[in-house]
């Protein structure tokens, strides 16, 4: 079972992903994302409750970064652990994203921008 919760803190969109992010969920996520990307360019993915991610899920997170980067936006990650952490490490995607231990730290990292 997968769930994505969106909220805005200051000028940052926080997307909390829960459950298993696998291929069948990604199409809807990308559609939902369009709504936010048109207005905002700073994102935090909070992965505290994300138990599993596959190649499509990883592709969705990278797609978000690729979309906001040309506008000088960014995507940052908080609470990376478990299987998603292993996937980020083996694919070396962990070197692309700034990572934080808490959602708050990730959001605060954008202050002053």
């Amino acid at each position: 079972m997968f769930n994505a919760n969106y909220k805005k803190i200051n000028n940052v969109i926080v997307i909390k992903l829960e459950g298993e992010l696998i291929s069948q969920d990604c199409k809807k996520l990308k559609e939902d994302l369009q709504e936010y990307i048109s207005l905002d360019k700073y994102f935090v993915f909070d992965l505290e409750n994300l138990s599993m991610i596959d190649s499509s899920g990883l592709g969705y997170i990278i797609h978000t970064l690729k979309t906001v980067s040309p506008q000088n936006g960014d995507v940052r990650i908080s609470n990376l652990s478990g299987q998603p952490k292993v996937i980020f490490e083996i694919t070396r995607v962990d070197s692309i994203f700034k990572q934080f231990d808490t959602q708050n730290d990730a959001v605060q990292s954008y202050s002053g921008i």
């Binding site: 599993m52 299987q83 996937i87 083996i90 070396r92």
Partner: protein, 289 residues
């Protein structure tokens, strides 16, 4: 000399290694089944007949590839506990020299060192024991034998034990003639029909088993074992890791301190198991060349 292999049923049924291999005795260490190491050991020490205790055990052993080429006589005995088995088959063992292997473990020593065998002794580590009986007589009690360290052994009761054994082998590669390989220079062992593309880097100690394909830009080792029939795609790194037989490692991956078996990724540090998408790594028999 006669050999006897006994594995308590609970180790065959309660398989600690099923993440790696479905059947207990068929899991491999550096490309060879555990039981194949037992056969090497017994054969080198002059055993001319091996008794296997139990149908389940015998069934697993006869499925092994190496058994087809073995010239040693193999006899299956009915299921029973070790001591009961020896007692019940007194007529087979009376006055014979006996080497008994009990349960699952690895023998590190040079097998040809017959001087290490001593009168009626055992060596035990955990649940793994080897007994040497110079001349078996009726009602001899194995558990009363003196414990001597005439062999270096390790019990295999968990994935952590498996990791320790492979680390020890990798750190002493030149000592082990029993590791299968075609070339063994500079602590890099390579098997038959291995294809390695340009720009690959191989760092010792490293074992690459038969029929492995390594694509360009890959970095293998140090401290790694690449299992038979595996495929390592371009620009991937495999360091301090074991890639089990028949695995596919995708492009641009960084596999460090892991065991890869099918789509299971086991972290060597904490022995956590992770399921990984087949696009990254999987069990597959396809060849790309």
């Amino acid at each position: 000399m006669k050999g006897l292999i006994y594995i308590d049923e609970k180790y065959l049924i309660n398989n600690k290694f099923d993440l790696i291999e479905n059947q207990t005795l068929l899991f491999k260490i550096c490309g060879k089944n555990v039981v194949e190491y037992y056969f090497d050991f017994l054969y080198t020490l002059g055993v001319d007949e091996i008794f296997i205790v139990g149908t389940e055990l015998n069934n697993q052993i006869v499925k092994s590839d190496f058994i087809k080429h073995s010239t040693i006589k193999i006899t299956a005995l009915p299921n029973s506990k070790l001591r009961d088995c020896i007692r019940e088959n007194n007529d087979l063992f009376e006055n014979e020299q006996l080497l008994v292997i009990e349960n699952i473990g690895f023998i590190f020593d040079d097998y040809s060192n017959k001087k290490s065998l001593e009168y009626n002794t055992k060596v035990s580590k955990g649940n793994f024991s080897i007994y040497y009986i110079e001349k078996y007589t009726k009602d001899m009690e194995l558990h009363l034998f003196n414990q001597k360290n005439f062999l270096k052994i390790k019990s295999l009761e968990s994935i952590k034990d498996y990791i320790k054994v492979t680390n020890k082998i990798l750190n002493n590669l030149s000592k082990y003639d029993s590791i299968p390989g075609y070339t063994k220079e500079n602590n890099i062992v390579i098997g038959k029909n291995v294809k390695i593309d340009s720009d690959c880097k191989l760092n010792a100690p490293l074992v690459i088993l038969d029929n492995v394909k390594v694509c360009k830009g890959a970095i293998l080792g140090p401290n790694s074992i690449i299992g038979q029939d595996s495929f390592i795609h371009e620009n991937s790194k495999v360091i301090n890791s074991i890639v089990y037989d028949n695995s596919y490692i995708g492009e641009n991956l960084n596999i460090e301190n892991k065991i890869v078996s099918s789509s299971n990724l086991i972290d060597k540090t904490d022995v956590e198991v992770y399921k990984v998408d087949g696009i990254f790594l999987s069990k597959n028999n396809r060849w790309f060349f």
